[in-house]
């Protein structure tokens, strides 16, 4: 690793010159690094966006569901108690509690004013329940409630959000897996390019060995070249992709997932790490390939 940074900072003009500039492998490496980084930026954006969405939806899930009980006044307390009993014995329900008149008045205040006589009106009673992390079987709960307290209705908004949150979580994983695959692919392609370059320069390597060059010296010449090509190509790719992401229409217009795809705040710095990562990949891929290849030569 220190070698990597020494190389980036100081380089070695001599070692650089002893290997002839080769046209197509240079171009191939830069292009590969650029294209792969371009893809990686989008995968990164996708992954970050789905991460944000999964978080938002999971938060929503953590919120409580409510059971609404509408019944004649004389049965209301009875049914409320029945509902609480049912909830207390339902697996997946962490806690449940009936809202007090005071709380209900607060809820209704924005609509009806502060002087609402809650006791006198046939207002449904609300029971608030908090879900445990693994969730409950809402269909089963609904049936039990119907049997015990005919006036109770489960208002379960978590039901449609759970699969979305799961999907968003999966999407984030897919995005990260894509970045990983892109990195591995880039390593493979740079290894191939480095091998081609080493093979094309077999004569050069032979001469260098004959005049007393160590393997590390020869490897350095190749590694430096490929690392810088990858860095340059990758920087161009990252820049292009970031411009592409920045040009996506801004959020509020359409709302939802697609427009949330951009980077936010510090997130804009993440794609800038990709060229450094690409250089690192190129550094180790070329180094490994070169040492491997040199061992085959006398």
């Amino acid at each position: 690793m220190t070698r990597f940074f020494t190389l980036l900072l100081h380089g070695d003009r001599h070692a650089d010159r002893v290997v002839p500039p080769t046209g197509h492998t240079a171009w191939l490496t830069s292009f590969t690094a650029g294209a792969m980084t371009f893809l990686a930026v989008f995968a990164l954006a996708l992954s970050l966006a789905s991460g944000r969405m999964a978080d938002r939806w999971s938060d929503a899930l953590a919120r409580t569901a409510t059971v609404r009980i509408s019944a004649p006044a004389d049965q209301l307390d009875f049914q409320t108690r029945a509902v609480l009993d049912v909830l207390a014995t339902t697996p997946g329900v962490e806690s449940a509690r009936a809202m007090t008149d005071e709380e209900q008045r607060k809820l209704l205040e924005p609509w009806f004013g502060p002087d609402l006589p809650v006791d006198a009106l046939p207002i449904p009673r609300l029971v608030e329940l908090t879900e445990a992390s693994d969730g409950y079987d809402s269909e089963g709960l609904r049936q039990r409630l119907a049997a015990e307290a005919p006036g109770a209705v489960l208002d379960d908004h978590t039901r449609w959000r759970r699969p979305l949150a799961t999907a968003a979580g999966r999407l984030r994983l897919l995005g990260l897996a894509s970045i990983l695959l892109i990195g591995v692919t880039m390593a493979a392609m740079i290894t191939l390019a480095a091998n081609a370059s080493l093979a094309a320069n077999a004569q050069v390597i032979q001469v260098l060995r004959l005049v007393g060059a160590r393997d590390t010296y020869i490897v350095r010449a190749f590694v430096r070249r490929f690392t810088f090509r990858a860095l340059a190509g990758s920087a161009a790719g990252a820049l292009a992709a970031m411009i592409g992401v920045a040009l996506l229409p801004s959020a509020d217009a359409a709302g939802g997932f697609l427009t949330g795809l951009g980077f936010t705040g510090w997130g804009w710095l993440l794609p800038l790490a990709l060229p450094l990562l690409a250089a690192l990949v190129a550094f180790f891929a070329t180094r490994t390939a070169a040492f491997q290849k040199l061992k085959e030569l006398p």
Binding site: P20, R209, L210, V211, A213, D215
Partner: protein, 223 residues
Amino acid sequence: MIAFENVAYNYGGGELLSDMSLRLAPGSFHFLTGPSGSGKSTFLKLCYAELKPTAGHVTLFDREVRTLARDDVAQMRRRIGVVHQDCQFLDHLPLAANVTLPLTVSDREVSPEDVGDLLGWVGLRHLADALPPQLSGGERQRAAVARAVIIGPDVILADEPTGNLDWELSLRLLKLLVELNRMGKTIVVATHDMNLIRQTKSQVAARVLRIQNRRIQLAGADL
């Protein structure tokens, strides 16, 4: 300095060199002769560990070549200047950079004046910026000699260094080698040129090795 002990070598076919034993003392001057294809270049390659013997032992600077790691071989080659029969240049680098390559790869600096002097001495100063493919055979050979001596090696192995040179240039080159030998360098020159050998023997105590029928022998008491 360089010692062979029952050395044999073959390229995969029949045996090319058999049962060679000899010792090249420090400061000695040897010529190596023999018919074309007899294995002179092969012998020299064994001397700088480009080839490893298929049997027997080659010892360079008191180290058995088979025990040398790759970096040791590199280190060893910095003490052995080689004039290759086919010269072996980097075609994309100008002559001056090629001549200084042994210094470059061992991270040593050299002043442009010294390089200029050396090139002038082999008559190539005006070609310092030329690329190797643009040079004549003789110019390449002289450049190869310059590259072999620039690092100040203990041993100089020259494979037909005068093959493309006229008589006058050959004599000049030989004078250089004799000079280096007087400075204590060990010299081996493979050549067909008997006149050159005779000429040299008048200046220095050179011995002649001959490869014949796969064996090496000291040629007649005095040729």
